[in-house]
Amino acid sequence: MKRGQVFTALLALLLLWQALAMLLDQPVLPTPLTVIAVLVVELGRGQLPLHFLASLWRVVASMLLSVLLAAPAGLVLGQSPRLNRIFSPFIYWLYPIPKVVLVPVVLLFLGIGDLAKIVIIFLILFFQILVLVRDQAAALRPELIQSVRSLGAGRRALFRYVYLPASLPAILTALRQSIGTAVAVLYIAELFATQYGLGYYIFLNGSTLLNYPAMYGGIVLMSLLGMMLYFGVDGLERWLCPWLRAGQPEGNQH
Protein backbone atom coordinates (compact mmCIF):
# COMPACT_ATOMS: atom_id res chain seq x y z
CA MET A 1 0.00 0.00 0.00
CA LYS A 2 1.24 3.42 -0.88
CA ARG A 3 0.84 6.31 1.51
CA GLY A 4 -1.02 8.30 -1.13
CA GLN A 5 -3.53 5.52 -1.74
CA VAL A 6 -4.27 5.22 1.96
CA PHE A 7 -4.83 8.94 2.22
CA THR A 8 -7.10 8.96 -0.83
CA ALA A 9 -9.18 6.14 0.65
CA LEU A 10 -9.64 8.13 3.87
CA LEU A 11 -10.70 11.16 1.88
CA ALA A 12 -13.18 9.08 -0.10
CA LEU A 13 -14.70 7.68 3.11
CA LEU A 14 -15.06 11.18 4.56
CA LEU A 15 -16.72 12.36 1.35
CA LEU A 16 -19.11 9.42 1.47
CA TRP A 17 -19.98 10.30 5.08
CA GLN A 18 -20.49 13.95 4.06
CA ALA A 19 -22.75 12.95 1.17
CA LEU A 20 -24.82 10.57 3.34
CA ALA A 21 -25.18 13.20 6.06
CA MET A 22 -26.32 15.86 3.56
CA LEU A 23 -28.72 13.41 1.92
CA LEU A 24 -30.26 12.26 5.21
CA ASP A 25 -30.25 15.75 6.72
CA GLN A 26 -31.05 14.52 10.25
CA PRO A 27 -29.42 15.45 13.59
CA VAL A 28 -28.57 11.77 14.20
CA LEU A 29 -26.01 11.91 11.38
CA PRO A 30 -24.01 15.14 11.47
CA THR A 31 -21.49 15.88 8.72
CA PRO A 32 -17.83 15.11 9.36
CA LEU A 33 -17.07 18.83 9.34
CA THR A 34 -19.52 19.43 12.19
CA VAL A 35 -18.06 16.49 14.11
CA ILE A 36 -14.50 17.67 13.67
CA ALA A 37 -15.44 21.18 14.79
CA VAL A 38 -17.13 19.83 17.93
CA LEU A 39 -14.22 17.47 18.53
CA VAL A 40 -11.76 20.36 18.48
CA VAL A 41 -13.90 22.34 20.92
CA GLU A 42 -14.42 19.35 23.25
CA LEU A 43 -10.73 18.48 23.21
CA GLY A 44 -9.94 22.06 24.16
CA ARG A 45 -12.45 22.17 27.02
CA GLY A 46 -10.50 19.76 29.13
CA GLN A 47 -12.96 16.91 29.67
CA LEU A 48 -12.51 14.86 26.48
CA PRO A 49 -8.72 14.45 26.80
CA LEU A 50 -9.34 13.00 30.27
CA HIS A 51 -11.84 10.52 28.84
CA PHE A 52 -9.33 9.58 26.16
CA LEU A 53 -6.48 9.15 28.62
CA ALA A 54 -8.66 7.07 30.95
CA SER A 55 -9.43 4.66 28.11
CA LEU A 56 -5.84 4.60 26.89
CA TRP A 57 -4.56 3.83 30.37
CA ARG A 58 -7.01 0.97 30.82
CA VAL A 59 -6.05 -0.73 27.54
CA VAL A 60 -2.32 -0.22 27.92
CA ALA A 61 -2.36 -1.39 31.54
CA SER A 62 -4.19 -4.58 30.60
CA MET A 63 -1.85 -5.15 27.66
CA LEU A 64 1.17 -4.89 29.92
CA LEU A 65 -0.40 -7.04 32.60
CA SER A 66 -1.37 -9.75 30.16
CA VAL A 67 2.05 -9.84 28.48
CA LEU A 68 3.80 -9.99 31.85
CA LEU A 69 1.67 -12.91 33.04
CA ALA A 70 0.76 -14.79 29.87
CA ALA A 71 4.14 -14.81 28.10
CA PRO A 72 6.10 -16.53 30.90
CA ALA A 73 3.22 -18.94 31.48
CA GLY A 74 3.08 -19.75 27.76
CA LEU A 75 6.85 -20.27 27.67
CA VAL A 76 6.74 -22.66 30.61
CA LEU A 77 3.87 -24.66 29.12
CA GLY A 78 5.48 -24.66 25.69
CA GLN A 79 8.72 -26.20 26.85
CA SER A 80 7.26 -28.63 29.36
CA PRO A 81 5.06 -31.24 27.68
CA ARG A 82 4.15 -32.57 31.13
CA LEU A 83 2.75 -29.27 32.43
CA ASN A 84 1.09 -28.66 29.10
CA ARG A 85 -0.71 -32.00 29.34
CA ILE A 86 -2.07 -30.95 32.73
CA PHE A 87 -3.16 -27.44 31.79
CA SER A 88 -4.24 -27.69 28.18
CA PRO A 89 -7.64 -29.26 29.00
CA PHE A 90 -8.37 -26.24 31.21
CA ILE A 91 -7.28 -23.83 28.52
CA TYR A 92 -9.37 -25.82 26.07
CA TRP A 93 -12.50 -24.99 28.09
CA LEU A 94 -11.64 -21.43 29.13
CA TYR A 95 -10.19 -20.07 25.90
CA PRO A 96 -13.40 -20.06 23.80
CA ILE A 97 -15.59 -18.41 26.46
CA PRO A 98 -16.50 -14.96 25.15
CA LYS A 99 -14.91 -12.95 27.94
CA VAL A 100 -17.25 -10.01 27.40
CA VAL A 101 -20.11 -11.92 29.05
CA LEU A 102 -18.01 -11.92 32.21
CA VAL A 103 -18.25 -8.12 32.45
CA PRO A 104 -21.10 -8.17 35.04
CA VAL A 105 -19.35 -10.88 37.04
CA VAL A 106 -16.05 -9.03 37.17
CA LEU A 107 -17.86 -5.82 38.12
CA LEU A 108 -19.64 -7.64 40.94
CA PHE A 109 -16.39 -9.00 42.31
CA LEU A 110 -13.98 -6.17 41.68
CA GLY A 111 -16.28 -3.19 42.03
CA ILE A 112 -16.48 -0.09 39.95
CA GLY A 113 -12.87 1.05 39.84
CA ASP A 114 -10.35 0.83 37.03
CA LEU A 115 -9.24 -2.59 38.18
CA ALA A 116 -12.44 -4.29 37.04
CA LYS A 117 -12.13 -2.82 33.55
CA ILE A 118 -8.46 -3.69 33.28
CA VAL A 119 -9.14 -7.26 34.39
CA ILE A 120 -11.84 -7.75 31.77
CA ILE A 121 -9.54 -6.76 28.91
CA PHE A 122 -6.73 -8.70 30.54
CA LEU A 123 -8.82 -11.87 30.41
CA ILE A 124 -9.20 -11.55 26.66
CA LEU A 125 -5.56 -10.80 25.94
CA PHE A 126 -4.22 -13.32 28.45
CA PHE A 127 -5.56 -16.43 26.74
CA GLN A 128 -4.70 -15.19 23.28
CA ILE A 129 -1.07 -14.57 24.23
CA LEU A 130 -0.83 -17.70 26.36
CA VAL A 131 -1.93 -19.99 23.55
CA LEU A 132 0.18 -18.37 20.83
CA VAL A 133 3.35 -18.21 22.93
CA ARG A 134 2.84 -21.78 24.13
CA ASP A 135 2.47 -23.09 20.59
CA GLN A 136 5.42 -21.06 19.37
CA ALA A 137 7.68 -22.35 22.15
CA ALA A 138 6.51 -25.93 21.61
CA ALA A 139 7.16 -25.66 17.88
CA LEU A 140 10.85 -24.82 18.31
CA ARG A 141 12.79 -27.58 16.61
CA PRO A 142 14.58 -29.88 19.05
CA GLU A 143 17.72 -29.62 16.91
CA LEU A 144 17.83 -25.89 17.59
CA ILE A 145 17.57 -26.46 21.34
CA GLN A 146 20.23 -29.19 21.26
CA SER A 147 22.58 -27.03 19.20
CA VAL A 148 22.34 -24.19 21.68
CA ARG A 149 22.69 -26.61 24.59
CA SER A 150 25.86 -27.93 22.99
CA LEU A 151 27.24 -24.37 23.07
CA GLY A 152 26.97 -24.59 26.85
CA ALA A 153 23.50 -23.19 27.44
CA GLY A 154 21.59 -24.49 30.44
CA ARG A 155 17.97 -23.76 31.25
CA ARG A 156 18.49 -20.08 32.05
CA ALA A 157 20.54 -19.33 28.96
CA LEU A 158 18.02 -21.21 26.81
CA PHE A 159 15.30 -18.94 28.14
CA ARG A 160 17.34 -15.83 27.55
CA TYR A 161 18.74 -16.65 24.11
CA VAL A 162 16.16 -18.99 22.59
CA TYR A 163 12.72 -19.05 24.19
CA LEU A 164 12.42 -15.33 24.89
CA PRO A 165 13.33 -14.05 21.41
CA ALA A 166 11.35 -16.90 19.85
CA SER A 167 8.21 -15.82 21.69
CA LEU A 168 8.39 -12.12 20.84
CA PRO A 169 6.64 -12.42 17.46
CA ALA A 170 3.94 -14.57 19.07
CA ILE A 171 3.33 -11.96 21.77
CA LEU A 172 3.09 -9.14 19.25
CA THR A 173 0.88 -11.14 16.89
CA ALA A 174 -1.44 -11.99 19.77
CA LEU A 175 -1.62 -8.33 20.78
CA ARG A 176 -2.31 -7.16 17.26
CA GLN A 177 -5.01 -9.75 16.73
CA SER A 178 -6.78 -8.92 19.96
CA ILE A 179 -6.55 -5.13 20.06
CA GLY A 180 -9.81 -4.78 18.14
CA THR A 181 -11.64 -7.01 20.60
CA ALA A 182 -9.96 -5.29 23.52
CA VAL A 183 -11.16 -1.84 22.47
CA ALA A 184 -14.65 -3.17 21.79
CA VAL A 185 -14.80 -4.72 25.24
CA LEU A 186 -13.37 -1.54 26.72
CA TYR A 187 -16.41 0.28 25.34
CA ILE A 188 -18.77 -2.21 26.99
CA ALA A 189 -16.86 -2.06 30.25
CA GLU A 190 -16.97 1.73 30.29
CA LEU A 191 -20.74 1.77 30.00
CA PHE A 192 -20.91 0.62 33.62
CA ALA A 193 -20.19 2.54 36.76
CA THR A 194 -17.65 5.06 35.62
CA GLN A 195 -17.50 8.74 34.80
CA TYR A 196 -14.40 8.66 32.69
CA GLY A 197 -13.55 6.88 29.49
CA LEU A 198 -14.53 7.19 25.86
CA GLY A 199 -17.19 4.50 26.22
CA TYR A 200 -18.91 6.53 28.91
CA TYR A 201 -18.49 9.72 26.88
CA ILE A 202 -20.04 8.22 23.74
CA PHE A 203 -22.95 6.72 25.63
CA LEU A 204 -23.61 9.85 27.69
CA ASN A 205 -23.69 12.14 24.66
CA GLY A 206 -25.66 9.69 22.56
CA SER A 207 -28.42 8.69 24.89
CA THR A 208 -28.57 11.27 27.68
CA LEU A 209 -27.35 14.60 26.37
CA LEU A 210 -28.41 13.86 22.80
CA ASN A 211 -25.34 15.74 21.63
CA TYR A 212 -24.87 13.73 18.44
CA PRO A 213 -21.81 15.52 17.04
CA ALA A 214 -20.00 14.93 20.37
CA MET A 215 -21.06 11.28 20.29
CA TYR A 216 -19.54 10.92 16.84
CA GLY A 217 -16.47 12.74 18.09
CA GLY A 218 -16.12 10.09 20.79
CA ILE A 219 -16.50 7.34 18.20
CA VAL A 220 -13.78 8.92 16.06
CA LEU A 221 -11.47 9.13 19.06
CA MET A 222 -12.15 5.52 20.02
CA SER A 223 -11.30 4.45 16.48
CA LEU A 224 -8.13 6.50 16.67
CA LEU A 225 -7.29 4.79 19.95
CA GLY A 226 -7.61 1.37 18.33
CA MET A 227 -5.55 2.47 15.35
CA MET A 228 -2.85 4.00 17.54
CA LEU A 229 -2.46 0.76 19.45
CA TYR A 230 -2.48 -1.31 16.28
CA PHE A 231 0.22 0.77 14.63
CA GLY A 232 2.09 0.92 17.91
CA VAL A 233 2.32 -2.86 18.05
CA ASP A 234 3.26 -2.89 14.37
CA GLY A 235 6.08 -0.47 15.08
CA LEU A 236 7.23 -2.51 18.05
CA GLU A 237 7.40 -5.58 15.83
CA ARG A 238 9.43 -3.74 13.23
CA TRP A 239 11.80 -2.63 15.96
CA LEU A 240 12.04 -5.84 18.00
CA CYS A 241 11.76 -8.44 15.24
CA PRO A 242 13.77 -7.09 12.30
CA TRP A 243 14.41 -10.61 10.98
CA LEU A 244 10.74 -11.02 10.08
CA ARG A 245 11.00 -8.31 7.46
CA ALA A 246 14.47 -9.11 6.17
CA GLY A 247 14.20 -10.07 2.50
CA GLN A 248 16.50 -12.12 0.35
CA PRO A 249 19.70 -10.25 -0.41
CA GLU A 250 20.77 -9.99 -4.04
CA GLY A 251 24.27 -11.43 -3.92
CA ASN A 252 23.13 -14.76 -2.53
CA GLN A 253 25.86 -17.13 -3.61
CA HIS A 254 27.79 -19.73 -1.67
Binding site: S147, R149, A157, R160, P165, L168, W243
Partner: protein
Protein backbone atom coordinates in the same frame (compact mmCIF):
# COMPACT_ATOMS: atom_id res chain seq x y z
CA UNK B 1 40.89 -39.10 24.19
CA UNK B 2 37.28 -40.32 23.98
CA UNK B 3 36.30 -43.76 25.23
CA UNK B 4 32.93 -45.45 24.98
CA UNK B 5 32.82 -48.37 27.39
CA UNK B 6 30.05 -50.95 27.21
CA UNK B 7 27.50 -48.42 26.08
CA UNK B 8 23.90 -49.56 26.02
CA UNK B 9 21.33 -47.14 24.76
CA UNK B 10 17.67 -47.67 23.95
CA UNK B 11 14.91 -45.16 23.27
CA UNK B 12 11.79 -45.77 25.35
CA UNK B 13 9.80 -48.59 23.75
CA UNK B 14 12.37 -49.27 21.03
CA UNK B 15 15.01 -51.84 20.25
CA UNK B 16 18.46 -51.15 21.72
CA UNK B 17 20.45 -48.96 19.36
CA UNK B 18 23.70 -49.74 21.15
CA UNK B 19 24.25 -52.89 23.13
CA UNK B 20 27.57 -53.09 25.01
CA UNK B 21 29.21 -50.92 22.40
CA UNK B 22 32.88 -49.99 22.70
CA UNK B 23 34.84 -47.42 20.76
CA UNK B 24 37.97 -45.41 21.32
CA UNK B 25 38.95 -42.17 19.61
CA UNK B 26 42.51 -40.95 19.81
CA UNK B 27 43.40 -37.34 20.33
CA UNK B 28 43.40 -35.18 17.17
CA UNK B 29 42.15 -38.09 15.07
CA UNK B 30 39.58 -37.70 12.37
CA UNK B 31 36.79 -40.28 12.28
CA UNK B 32 33.96 -40.76 9.86
CA UNK B 33 30.92 -42.62 11.13
CA UNK B 34 29.21 -44.37 8.24
CA UNK B 35 25.83 -46.01 8.23
CA UNK B 36 22.34 -46.00 6.76
CA UNK B 37 19.77 -43.61 8.20
CA UNK B 38 18.14 -44.81 11.38
CA UNK B 39 21.16 -46.84 12.48
CA UNK B 40 21.90 -44.59 15.45
CA UNK B 41 24.54 -42.27 14.01
CA UNK B 42 22.93 -39.16 15.44
CA UNK B 43 22.31 -40.94 18.73
CA UNK B 44 26.02 -41.71 18.85
CA UNK B 45 26.87 -38.03 18.40
CA UNK B 46 24.38 -37.04 21.12
CA UNK B 47 26.05 -39.55 23.43
CA UNK B 48 29.49 -38.13 22.61
CA UNK B 49 28.16 -34.61 23.17
CA UNK B 50 26.65 -35.54 26.52
CA UNK B 51 23.19 -34.43 25.39
CA UNK B 52 21.85 -37.88 26.21
CA UNK B 53 23.22 -40.43 28.66
CA UNK B 54 23.51 -44.18 28.09
CA UNK B 55 21.43 -46.57 30.20
CA UNK B 56 24.54 -48.60 30.86
CA UNK B 57 28.24 -48.10 30.33
CA UNK B 58 29.95 -44.76 30.21
CA UNK B 59 31.54 -42.20 27.95
CA UNK B 60 34.80 -40.73 29.17
CA UNK B 61 36.68 -37.82 27.69
CA UNK B 62 40.26 -37.38 28.89
CA UNK B 63 39.41 -39.80 31.67
CA UNK B 64 36.41 -37.76 32.88
CA UNK B 65 33.04 -39.50 32.78
CA UNK B 66 30.57 -37.49 30.75
CA UNK B 67 27.40 -36.50 32.57
CA UNK B 68 26.33 -33.35 30.74
CA UNK B 69 27.37 -31.35 27.66
CA UNK B 70 31.01 -30.42 27.97
CA UNK B 71 31.98 -26.83 27.14
CA UNK B 72 35.01 -27.89 25.10
CA UNK B 73 32.95 -30.08 22.76
CA UNK B 74 31.55 -28.52 19.61
CA UNK B 75 28.48 -30.02 17.95
CA UNK B 76 27.10 -29.09 14.54
CA UNK B 77 23.78 -30.67 13.64
CA UNK B 78 22.32 -31.40 10.25
CA UNK B 79 20.06 -28.35 10.12
CA UNK B 80 22.83 -26.10 11.51
CA UNK B 81 20.75 -24.98 14.52
CA UNK B 82 21.10 -21.28 13.80
CA UNK B 83 18.85 -18.82 15.60
CA UNK B 84 16.54 -17.43 12.91
CA UNK B 85 16.18 -14.11 14.74
CA UNK B 86 19.91 -13.48 15.03
CA UNK B 87 22.27 -12.17 12.37
CA UNK B 88 25.30 -14.15 11.26
CA UNK B 89 27.50 -12.16 13.66
CA UNK B 90 25.08 -12.67 16.54
CA UNK B 91 24.86 -16.39 15.78
CA UNK B 92 28.63 -16.77 15.70
CA UNK B 93 28.81 -14.82 18.95
CA UNK B 94 26.14 -16.94 20.67
CA UNK B 95 28.48 -19.42 22.33
CA UNK B 96 30.68 -16.62 23.65
CA UNK B 97 27.58 -14.87 24.97
CA UNK B 98 26.42 -18.02 26.72
CA UNK B 99 29.88 -18.35 28.27
CA UNK B 100 29.92 -14.83 29.63
CA UNK B 101 26.32 -15.32 30.79
CA UNK B 102 27.47 -18.06 33.16
CA UNK B 103 31.07 -17.04 33.73
CA UNK B 104 33.84 -19.66 33.87
CA UNK B 105 31.94 -22.17 36.03
CA UNK B 106 33.43 -25.33 34.50
CA UNK B 107 29.91 -26.50 33.73
CA UNK B 108 28.67 -24.25 30.96
CA UNK B 109 32.00 -22.65 30.17
CA UNK B 110 35.56 -23.94 30.66
CA UNK B 111 37.03 -23.21 34.10
CA UNK B 112 40.07 -21.47 32.70
CA UNK B 113 37.98 -19.59 30.20
CA UNK B 114 40.35 -17.59 28.15
CA UNK B 115 38.25 -14.59 27.33
CA UNK B 116 38.03 -14.69 23.58
CA UNK B 117 39.93 -11.78 22.13
CA UNK B 118 37.63 -9.23 20.59
CA UNK B 119 39.04 -9.94 17.15
CA UNK B 120 38.27 -13.67 17.39
CA UNK B 121 34.78 -13.06 16.06
CA UNK B 122 36.05 -11.10 13.07
CA UNK B 123 38.76 -13.65 12.50
CA UNK B 124 36.32 -16.56 12.22
CA UNK B 125 33.84 -14.60 10.14
CA UNK B 126 36.63 -13.92 7.67
CA UNK B 127 38.19 -17.38 7.92
CA UNK B 128 34.86 -18.95 6.98
CA UNK B 129 34.22 -16.37 4.28
CA UNK B 130 31.01 -15.01 5.78
CA UNK B 131 32.18 -11.52 6.75
CA UNK B 132 30.23 -10.09 3.83
CA UNK B 133 26.94 -11.51 5.08
CA UNK B 134 27.69 -10.71 8.72
CA UNK B 135 24.52 -8.68 9.18
CA UNK B 136 22.21 -11.03 7.27
CA UNK B 137 19.74 -13.37 8.96
CA UNK B 138 19.93 -17.15 8.42
CA UNK B 139 16.77 -17.02 6.30
CA UNK B 140 18.68 -14.88 3.82
CA UNK B 141 21.64 -17.24 3.50
CA UNK B 142 22.41 -20.10 1.16
CA UNK B 143 22.86 -23.57 2.66
CA UNK B 144 26.63 -23.29 2.38
CA UNK B 145 26.67 -19.93 4.17
CA UNK B 146 24.51 -21.36 6.95
CA UNK B 147 26.89 -24.27 7.39
CA UNK B 148 29.84 -21.86 7.45
CA UNK B 149 28.09 -19.80 10.12
CA UNK B 150 27.50 -22.91 12.22
CA UNK B 151 31.17 -23.90 11.87
CA UNK B 152 32.37 -20.42 12.83
CA UNK B 153 30.04 -20.38 15.85
CA UNK B 154 31.54 -23.63 17.07
CA UNK B 155 35.21 -22.99 16.29
CA UNK B 156 35.25 -19.55 17.91
CA UNK B 157 34.87 -21.48 21.18
CA UNK B 158 38.12 -23.37 20.44
CA UNK B 159 36.74 -26.88 20.96
CA UNK B 160 39.07 -29.84 21.43
CA UNK B 161 36.41 -32.19 20.07
CA UNK B 162 34.23 -31.37 17.07
CA UNK B 163 31.18 -33.46 16.21
CA UNK B 164 29.32 -33.01 12.93
CA UNK B 165 26.08 -34.68 11.88
CA UNK B 166 25.61 -35.10 8.12
CA UNK B 167 27.04 -31.61 7.73
CA UNK B 168 27.10 -31.40 3.96
CA UNK B 169 24.28 -33.66 2.85
CA UNK B 170 21.87 -30.88 1.86
CA UNK B 171 24.44 -28.87 -0.09
CA UNK B 172 25.05 -28.87 -3.82
CA UNK B 173 28.12 -30.89 -4.95
CA UNK B 174 30.42 -27.91 -5.51
CA UNK B 175 29.64 -26.29 -2.17
CA UNK B 176 29.92 -29.67 -0.48
CA UNK B 177 33.40 -30.25 -1.84
CA UNK B 178 34.52 -26.75 -0.83
CA UNK B 179 33.26 -27.20 2.70
CA UNK B 180 34.68 -30.68 3.05
CA UNK B 181 38.18 -29.47 2.22
CA UNK B 182 37.75 -26.35 4.34
CA UNK B 183 36.70 -28.45 7.32
CA UNK B 184 39.70 -30.77 6.92
CA UNK B 185 41.98 -27.77 6.61
CA UNK B 186 40.57 -26.30 9.83
CA UNK B 187 41.02 -29.68 11.52
CA UNK B 188 44.70 -29.72 10.54
CA UNK B 189 45.20 -26.15 11.74
CA UNK B 190 43.34 -26.36 15.03
CA UNK B 191 44.26 -29.95 15.95
CA UNK B 192 40.92 -30.89 17.46
CA UNK B 193 39.55 -34.41 17.56
CA UNK B 194 36.98 -34.75 14.81
CA UNK B 195 33.99 -37.04 14.34
CA UNK B 196 31.77 -36.63 11.30
CA UNK B 197 28.65 -38.68 10.70
CA UNK B 198 27.61 -39.43 7.12
CA UNK B 199 25.63 -41.87 5.03
CA UNK B 200 27.79 -41.28 1.94
CA UNK B 201 30.73 -43.62 1.41
CA UNK B 202 32.58 -41.05 -0.63
CA UNK B 203 32.34 -38.48 2.15
CA UNK B 204 33.50 -41.01 4.73
CA UNK B 205 36.55 -41.84 2.60
CA UNK B 206 37.34 -38.18 2.18
CA UNK B 207 36.84 -37.07 5.79
CA UNK B 208 37.92 -39.96 8.02
CA UNK B 209 41.36 -41.31 8.86
CA UNK B 210 39.34 -44.20 10.21
CA UNK B 211 35.80 -45.17 9.40
CA UNK B 212 33.34 -46.56 11.93
CA UNK B 213 30.60 -48.60 10.32
CA UNK B 214 27.28 -48.65 12.13
CA UNK B 215 24.45 -50.99 11.38
CA UNK B 216 22.96 -53.93 13.13
CA UNK B 217 25.06 -55.43 15.93
CA UNK B 218 27.23 -57.73 13.86
CA UNK B 219 28.37 -55.17 11.33
CA UNK B 220 29.70 -52.61 13.74
CA UNK B 221 33.36 -52.28 13.08
CA UNK B 222 36.13 -49.96 12.05
CA UNK B 223 38.05 -49.69 8.82
CA UNK B 224 41.37 -47.90 8.49
CA UNK B 225 41.29 -45.52 5.55
CA UNK B 226 44.51 -45.64 3.53
CA UNK B 227 43.20 -43.01 1.12
CA UNK B 228 42.72 -40.29 3.74
CA UNK B 229 44.48 -37.06 2.90
CA UNK B 230 44.87 -37.91 -0.76
CA UNK B 231 42.95 -36.20 -3.50
CA UNK B 232 39.89 -38.31 -4.17
CA UNK B 233 40.20 -40.25 -7.42
CA UNK B 234 36.98 -42.14 -8.03
CA UNK B 235 38.51 -44.20 -10.86
CA UNK B 236 41.57 -45.43 -9.01
CA UNK B 237 41.75 -49.09 -8.15
CA UNK B 238 42.44 -48.46 -4.47
CA UNK B 239 39.33 -46.28 -4.20
CA UNK B 240 37.15 -48.85 -5.95
CA UNK B 241 38.42 -51.56 -3.61
CA UNK B 242 37.81 -49.51 -0.48
CA UNK B 243 34.42 -48.42 -1.78
CA UNK B 244 33.39 -52.00 -2.51
CA UNK B 245 34.55 -53.18 0.88
CA UNK B 246 32.63 -50.44 2.69
CA UNK B 247 29.58 -51.05 0.52
CA UNK B 248 29.71 -54.76 1.25
CA UNK B 249 29.92 -54.16 4.97
CA UNK B 250 27.11 -51.63 4.83
CA UNK B 251 25.00 -53.90 2.66
CA UNK B 252 25.41 -56.74 5.09
CA UNK B 253 24.18 -54.37 7.78
Amino acid sequence: MVKLENITFVYPGGKPIFDHFNWEIGSAQSWAVLGPSGCGKTTLLYLLAGLILPQAGRVTIDGQALARPRPQTGLILQDYGLLPWATVTQNVNLGLQVRSFYGPDGKHAPLQAVAAPSHALDFWLRRLGIAEVASAYPGQLSGGQRQRTAIARTLVLQPDLLLMDEPFSSLDPVTRKDLQSLTLQLWREAQFTFVVVTHAIEEAVMMGQSILILGSQRQMGTVANPLFGEPLDRDSLSYRQLYDELQARLGAA
